[in-house]
Symmetry: C2
Subunit: 335 residues, 2 copies
């Protein structure tokens, strides 16, 4: 028997080697329909011998899919995003899918280019972590299954959205600061508009309303939500002698930046100023003092989005097209 | 004049619209050969009017490439790797290339699958950050341009390698501990064999040799090089009463894990035990105490690898097929 190279094997060749029809091989692989135990064993032996990828083949037989998906992510260098992406990869790879990750830098132009290119490469579906509000015409013309994580698009339509309960998170963070006695609570939020940022801000205002306190306009800061961005913003406030005793940083990196600025000005945390972050990435756990933060369930965000996308790809019904996952307050040393 | 949609425009259509030959359009786009200023302006006007991607077209005219590359990375959730990948993206995207990132989990099977799939998707080249020692047969049969970062393959051949001077890094880290008075220096290195791990270990031994000190076998630990892995290993040593006063952790995550284990056992850092990490990622900077570490130049690693790959794709000569980048000791609070 001629030894076949893996990449050259086809269903047809297996059929020839087994002396059965292509339809029979397909039935055995899919375990669907009638065939004898002898035939089954014969087909499976050949498959095993040639290290045949059953899942791949069965799938492509049934669905004619490329067995790959694309993930658009704004910044894989932020552990929050990379953790979610890792979950997506862990979900899809064992199911025979390749996962192609594209870093968009939160830039609309890049998002569009990558959307186009992923489609050209024939991916079966997309998971889209993005702040972009509208979808490129190109996409809308030729729809492929898509799920959004963390941020929703304004064009609502039938796109599945999986996100954390950002509003509850904003509320919990601000409530913690209020309960610990803070009167002037700064919010550091992204200057880039996104639904998650908006929701966290709503939660911040909810907490003030619940405590019958007014929101102070000069303590609402739209910044580049990075270590540097937050450090500069907080340093600037200190220099301008603006009074604050609490900081709600809309991500953990901004919480770290605030910490550095306060340390440099010899302001004690949590003695003089308290801080709550958002995301619960490693940096908040291992910093000093360790940062109180809002935990986003990165594992479930990745899994729920993956499951929804797989359902869309397989043409199954989507029960819930807007999944909102609960968040929790993780108390550490900055409050 | 009929308005053409961007995706349908071809060189031929531009030529028709300008009433010149395809060769002339090509010469104008590539700025190569003879054409009048009038012709140049005519062609450029049409190109501008239709938002034509000059780079893309010029490239594909010359080379017939897909304008995309693949990056294989063991763990994008480790900031060292994600920083390097981000540099690669920043290098290639403005040059008209899409970058498809695949997370291999350091798993040989995944690496092989992704290598195959990236090739099937027709990428023009690969950047390969991996511990895998041999390349799949598949790859060797149909070579495409490839550059390895950080770790080298045993099959040396003509593959370009870009890496940090890991041996010098291991030396500097260990020398720092010796100079600060450590006598029993633990090394926490990955249980997965890789050239970078081997080189760091050589540097560790070099430093002992230079100081005329013996290497102690029971202080060489091959671990799962994560926070948890290091924490468990160090806790185990403490419980077994094995004496050590210095730790060279082969990455910063392991340094953090060591710190936690020591804190839990109320052992003072750097008072009783000193620590040096490797990589210089954010976590080492913001932990408490901040971790002394070896800086790898992530920006240059990404850039040098990208430049080499682009040269290979363009068929240019590679001057240096083994780029070794210098490392530096970053002194912080754990030594």
């Amino acid at each position: 028997m001629k030894k076949l190279k893996e990449k050259n094997i086809s269903i047809k060749e297996i059929a020839t080697l087994c002396n059965v029809s292509v339809a029979t091989v397909s039935r055995v692989i899919n375990d669907n329909g009638r065939f004898s135990e002898k035939t089954r064993r014969k087909v499976m032996d050949i498959i095993k011998q040639y290290d045949y990828k059953i899942n791949m083949v069965a799938k492509s037989l049934r669905t004619n899919k490329s067995q790959s998906i694309g993930v658009l992510v704004p910044n894989i260098n932020n552990e929050f995003f990379s953790s979610v992406v890792l979950e997506i990869e862990s979900y899809f790879f064992p199911k025979g899918y390749s996962v192609f990750i594209c870093n968009t830098n939160g830039d609309e132009n890049r998002e569009k280019e990558y959307l186009k290119d992923l489609r050209l490469k024939g991916v079966d579906g997309l998971i889209y972590i993005s702040g972009m509000k509208s979808l490129p015409d190109d996409y809308l013309k030729r729809k492929i299954p898509m799920v959004c994580i963390d941020r929703q698009l304004d064009i609502n339509s039938d796109i599945v959205i999986v996100e954390s309960d950002n509003r509850a998170g904003g509320f919990l963070a601000t409530q913690e600061l209020i309960q610990k006695g803070c009167k002037n609570i700064l919010i550091l939020k992204s200057c880039k508009e996104s639904s998650s940022s908006r929701a966290r801000f709503c939660g911040y205002k909810d907490a003030f309303a619940a405590a019958n306190l007014p929101v102070k306009e000069n303590l609402i800061l739209n910044i580049n939500i990075t270590v540097e961005g937050a450090k500069n913003a907080v340093t600037h406030l200190i220099e301008k002698d603006i009074e604050f005793d609490g900081i709600f940083a809309c991500n953990d990196w901004a919480a770290i930046g605030s910490l550095i600025a306060l340390k440099e000005s010899k302001i004690k945390v949590p003695g003089q100023v308290k801080i709550v972050g958002f995301d619960n990435i490693s940096i908040s756990q291992y910093s000093y003092p360790a940062v109180t933060t809002i935990n986003q369930d990165k594992k479930r965000l990745g899994q729920e989005a993956s499951e929804a996308l797989l359902n869309l790809i397989d043409g199954n019904c989507i029960v819930n097209s807007h999944v909102i996952l609960p968040v929790t307050l993780v108390k550490r040393e900055t409050t």
